[in-house]
């Protein structure tokens, strides 16, 4: 099977997954990646969201908890951390659970990583509250 045959589905599945994580996310992310290269979205999003995240052995809610933990511990991707905290809340993780995850990272990655995680969670929760007040995006 050639890459040309699988490409459209792989990208389409990835974009559907992104919109499950946050309504309207696929449009924002593809606009960013398409500005760089035609193949970028398919390669990057296809790998992350179709090849890995869509695998059935772990449910999406648990995967988002793991992603928040990993990004908090790494501390190198604040934008992605904020997005995945919102995505976690959108896939059934409670705010209380997000706070527990960030707290646990103080043990394994240090207090500064935890404090940056708290700041990211604060921004993510505020964005979720703002969206809730405005209504879902795309409904005008």
């Amino acid at each position: 099977m050639s890459a040309a045959e699988v490409t459209p589905d792989r990208l389409r599945h990835a974009l559907e997954m992104l919109d499950r994580l946050e309504d309207g996310a696929s449009a924002k992310v593809t606009a960013n990646l398409d500005a760089m290269s035609d193949d970028f979205a398919e390669i990057v999003l296809g790998f992350a969201f179709t090849d890995v995240l869509a695998r059935p052995a772990i449910d999406l809610r648990t995967r988002e908890m793991l992603t928040v933990a990993a990004l908090t511990a790494m501390g190198t991707a604040p934008g992605q951390l904020e997005f995945h905290i919102r995505a976690a809340c959108n896939t059934g993780v409670t705010r209380e659970e997000v706070v527990e995850i960030v707290l646990q990272m103080a043990v394994y990655a240090g207090v500064p990583a935890c404090m940056n995680g708290v700041a990211a969670a604060r921004r993510a929760f505020a964005a979720l509250d703002a969206t809730a007040e405005e209504g879902p995006s795309g409904t005008g």
């Binding site: 511990a73 394994y108 990655a109 240090g110 207090v111 500064p112 990583a113």
Partner: protein, 128 residues
């Protein structure tokens, strides 16, 4: 050889000990010679040579940074260097407490295990 290089070699011997430096110099090849000169001038001739803070404090900072960045390979060498710098096992333990808080418990745990093993080796060598 620059003054800074010569001063660096002197400080390096004072901190790491003659035996270590003799071994390291014997292992020097054309491949790592420029790197060794860079380290001699920058790390030993500039940073460790400064008298702005004590050698004991430099030992503690260095061990904490090595552990926090996960550069565990050099921890045994710097534990051995505490004999020359005057940092006590208690100083080292306090430095690793900071690592646990700021860089995570697993890194402090690993650094402590390496320190413990190195202290044991040093004691065994003294007895032998």
């Amino acid at each position: 050889m620059t003054d800074r290089h010569a001063r660096g070699q002197e400080v390096r011997r004072q901190v790491l000990g003659d035996a270590h430096v003799d071994r390291a110099d014997a292992a020097r090849t054309p491949l790592d010679a420029p790197f060794q000169d860079l380290i001699a001038e920058a790390a030993w001739g500039t940073v460790w040579a400064s008298d702005g803070i004590s050698r004991r404090e430099r030992s503690m900072l260095t061990l904490a940074l090595l552990a926090a960045c996960g550069n565990f390979d050099e921890i045994p060498m710097h534990i051995r260097a505490t004999r020359q710098t005057g940092a006590t096992p208690q100083d080292v333990a306090e430095a690793f407490q900071h690592v646990a808080i700021y860089a995570g418990v697993p890194r402090a745990n690993r650094a402590l295990a390496l320190a413990k093993r190195t202290y044991a080796e040093m004691e065994a060598e003294d007895d032998g």
